[in-house]
Amino acid sequence: MRAAVINFPGSNCVLDMYYALKDFRLDAEIVDANQENLDGFSAIFLPGGFSYGDYLRTGAIARFAPAMKGVAKAAKDGRLVVGICNGFQILTEAGLLPGALRENAKPGFICDEITLNVANPDSIFSSAYDKLQITLPIAHGAGNYYADAQTLASLKAHQQIIFTYEDNPNGSLDDIAGIVNQAGNVFGMMPHPERAVDSLLGNTDGRAFFQSILQRKDLLTHAD
């Protein structure tokens, strides 16, 4: 079975994600956002970037791309759907994850490495972490997570908050950096694990994120 990296017009972390998946010997493929049918993929990755220029609102226009029909179906079928950065923004706009991402509390794009807490080490996306504090890159201008009180209570009640910021860089509600849906198969986060898989670049804390996914052989099968 295969993994898809969806390429929306304006996505710019497509190759980063593709190479990271390849690094873990996944049978990854870059799929154009015009492709509606994603039935052949057991995991779908929505990469970072500025889909449709992030005009209007981040993710607002991408949510209507044909591929999002396939993504919604995959989510419903219980296949894995992962949104990183802009991908997370798209998943919230599409209603596949609760809440919304606003402009950073202090307006402006931030690129940095930040400390994250693994708030729920038991999820499909965090189970391989053997430490509860990690460092990952962030690079975003609209990572300020918002949800109303009821949604937040529900996120907490169902252990849907997977990663939180140690020093909140963007004003996110309850320091939220990454969440899953109630079913546990759709995940989104602002930090970039795919930028932290190669020791040459100085940080490998993203590896356990991918290893977590790979541990779920029931959901995903290796290329070889």
Partner: protein
């Protein structure tokens, strides 16, 4: 032809960080009368229709669907008839 003017702002309960930044900038420029600032978005959209009710319905539909995020934003709008463009 109708012209829709659409005004989008965050819902009341949501903090508007940009508004705060603009407010303090105005204060620094000595506009100390300024009590509150809300920053939003403004759209002017021309609709090729002669039916005002239909135009209104359309504006409401696409604003909800695309222009705003209903989790955190709300909108108001005005509709006015435009003289047919003569090209």
């Amino acid at each position: 032809m109708y012209l829709a003017k659409i005004y989008v702002t965050y819902k009341k309960s949501i903090l508007d960080p940009q508004g705060e930044v603009v407010k303090s900038a105005l204060h620094r420029l000595s506009y100390t009368n300024v009590e509150a600032v809300t920053c939003g978005k403004y759209f002017e959209i021309k609709l090729d229709t002669t039916d005002k009710a239909a135009a209104a319905k359309e504006v409401e539909a696409f604003s909800d669907e695309l222009l705003i995020n209903i989790n955190m934003e709300s909108f108001t709008y005005d509709l006015s008839e435009l003289a047919e463009a003569v090209d």
